[in-house]
Symmetry: C2
């Protein structure tokens, strides 16, 4: 499945696209950090980032969108920009009938490194290793977006329509019955891989 991961932000918005196979292997498709100048008014900044996100969706046609779930932080103005971009990103996905999933930073860290409190450096190093890259994607927003996309594919078992629980919507976390042959193959591969410990993390 192809997942678009978005680390939302008004100044820097990390965007990563990965293809993840049933055996959990992942390939980098694209990674970019969209930016908007701080001296532009907020509506113009939102439009810049929105244009960039739409272009990437059109170019790469992902099966699902994974966004960082935003929590309150110390800097209120940062939260606002982040929440505004996440709203714009969700709307772009909804208009194309793409499933959207939200993952917390600790969920992403746990999925990628096995440790929910991993630092940015550890996440970046694991992302590079998973994707077979020579260098860690920079800036951190780029690595975070890729980590989100990989995390999403791994947590959903690669079933594009099965968005991980949006807690606000009260959705279930697991794909329901009536799986397609491809989905069954994915789940079988998932179970076979459970000795690696990665599958255990899926059940956290």
């Amino acid at each position: 499945m192809r997942v678009l991961g978005i680390d939302p932000g008004l100044t820097r918005c990390g965007v990563g696209v990965v293809d993840v196979a049933p055996d959990r292997s992942a390939v980098l498709v694209d990674v970019v950090v969209l930016r908007s100048p701080a001296d532009l008014a907020t509506p113009g900044r939102l439009a810049r980032i929105s244009d960039g996100l739409e272009a990437i969706v059109e170019e790469h046609r992902p099966h699902a969108v994974a966004l960082e779930r935003v929590f309150a932080r110390s800097d209120v103005s940062t939260i606002m920009g982040t929440a505004q971009i996440s709203g714009v990103a969700m709307l772009i996905a909804e208009r194309r009938a793409l499933p959207v999933a939200l993952h917390t930073p600790s969920e992403v860290k746990a999925a990628i490194t096995g440790y929910g409190r991993a630092d940015k450096k550890q996440v970046g190093a694991m992302v590079a290793r998973i994707l077979g890259l020579d260098a860690v994607p920079k800036p951190a927003d780029a690595a975070d977006a890729l980590a989100l996309a990989i995390c999403h594919a791994w947590r959903t078992g690669g079933v594009a329509g099965a968005a991980v629980a949006d807690a606000a919507a009260g959705r279930g976390a697991a794909p329901a019955g009536g799986l397609t042959p491809a989905q069954r193959a994915w789940l079988a591969a998932e179970r076979a891989a459970s000795v690696s410990g990665a599958a255990r993390r899926l059940k956290e």
Copy 2:
């Protein structure tokens, strides 16, 4: 000038349209509260509200959009929905080249009632009086959206292109030189009305 006021929210989004004349008199054009069901996932809720906002913009063709400036409140999930809707609303305005202005709740209260800590009842009563309505618009989100629209027209002196300071963008609050005849007429009327005390509030 015709102003669209938006009190952003995911569950209830107040929307008010008013026409404000150079003599500061205001006429109700439309008022509605857009809603989205809490059991829908966030992207779908954003799309519902976005559809409603776009329909109102298309129908009434406002000259400017006034939004409530969102601050951190106790309930983080409410802030997120509010910020997401405000992002979507700003983008809708930007796509149509409409100026967007943000006003804080206390700026709106001060402009409408002369008192920055007025309660919702006082704001509603003044909105009804300004617009010559028999009853206070309900729910409070509707009255708040109308108050925002009136506040914006009054604070900008009715000059559609002169958005009140978006603090983040560092814009100036007052219209610059090179006024059109209509703008000069507005300012003259504004000065003539200063005995009422309303113009003093404009200079706060």
